[in-house]
Amino acid sequence: MRRQDKGTISRSKLETVETTFRNRLNGLVKSGEWIPDYDVGPNELRIELWDGIHADRSRFDVAWWTKHGYRYHYVEDGGGSESDSHDSERDSTGLQFRFGWENRPEYPDKHFHPPENLDAHRESCIEHEDVKRVTLAVIKCWHAAATASDPEKLNALSNPP
């Protein structure tokens, strides 16, 4: 099966992502950075936050494409470290998860990669395909998990098929 072309990175959708994070989480948003450069082939928008589920700092690396798909990759500092978050190396000891939407024949289109196994594809609780509602859902899942310090609250489908 031919896989669908995603198009290009959508700066317009990512701008909506950033605005939504800032409006909803307010002072919890530490920064929003286009990696590597807004004007030259950005791969993702990096939103750093002043809190996390287990750690004190965290970030979302977000991509949306013009034709199809998105990815919200979440990373926390491992062991509550206070390393400068401009570290380009992902700290793999911290909690991570991903919400994604991709056109893949063998996995659910909209999937969730849980913290305990990043390679697994579970069905995602996020059904929407528009940038606003997807972002609101991601923020809700993160906020619920972070308030309770409990990653189980991330993907509301507790018994995925």
Binding site: I9, T16, N26, G27, V40, G41, N43
Partner: protein, 204 residues
């Protein structure tokens, strides 16, 4: 933004209440989708939602598709889209079996060129252009092809990283054109630009 003597300290998560609606307060509801739609409706007007949806509509959508994406009705879409069409922001296409709407990409693209020209000196644009070309050359070498279309034909459906790279490559090609257009616009506007370019040259 709250103003108190602790304004330097970032808030703790319990101080932040991201959501207005009942559906999204408390635990994550079983049907996140419906709850999020209710929240979105509670915190926006129909026009705002229609505008957001259309702004992110790159391929033509029918009135019904826009209505679904904006959590509203077709008559409401028809009402609110007209000023956007008149302002040239949305393109309306009449097709045999209905009407389609798409955001006016041309306007957005021209605006981006103008912003780039306005916000960057010629030297800075040169630097960005060089960077774009370097990264494109790196993709050509990595995959042994000469264009994104060639890469698309060669990619294995499972190659996630490859499909990501393809999207980035396409973005780079488009950005390169935009950067070069910005240089031309910058030269054209030159010292007479009324919007004040951060130009480090000796123009008056």
């Amino acid at each position: 933004m709250p103003t108190d003597e602790n304004a330097d300290r970032p808030p703790s998560i319990t101080e932040i209440d991201p959501f207005d609606s009942e559906e999204l307060s408390g635990d994550t509801p079983e049907n996140v989708g419906e709850a999020v739609t209710e929240e979105w409706k509670a915190s926006t007007t129909a026009f705002q939602r229609i505008h957001t949806v259309l702004k992110n509509t790159y391929e033509p959508r029918t009135t019904g598709e826009v209505a679904d994406a904006a959590a509203t009705t077709k008559p409401t879409v028809r009402k609110h889209v007209e000023p956007l069409v008149e302002a040239g922001m949305v393109v309306k296409r009449e097709r045999g079996n209905g009407v389609q709407y798409v955001w006016n990409q041309t306007q957005r693209r021209i605006n981006r060129v103008a912003e780039l020209a306005d916000e960057h000196s010629s030297v800075e644009l040169d630097r960005k252009i060089r960077r774009a070309k370097e990264r494109i050359a790196a993709f050509e070498r990595k995959y042994g092809v000469e264009s994104p279309n060639e890469l698309a034909k060669a990619l294995d459906p499972d190659d996630d990283a490859g499909w990501d790279d393809l999207a980035t490559w396409r973005t780079l090609e488009d950005d390169l054109k935009r950067l070069e257009a910005a240089q031309t616009v910058g030269e054209y506007l030159g010292a007479e630009s009324v919007v004040g370019r951060r130009d480090t040259s000796n123009h008056a």
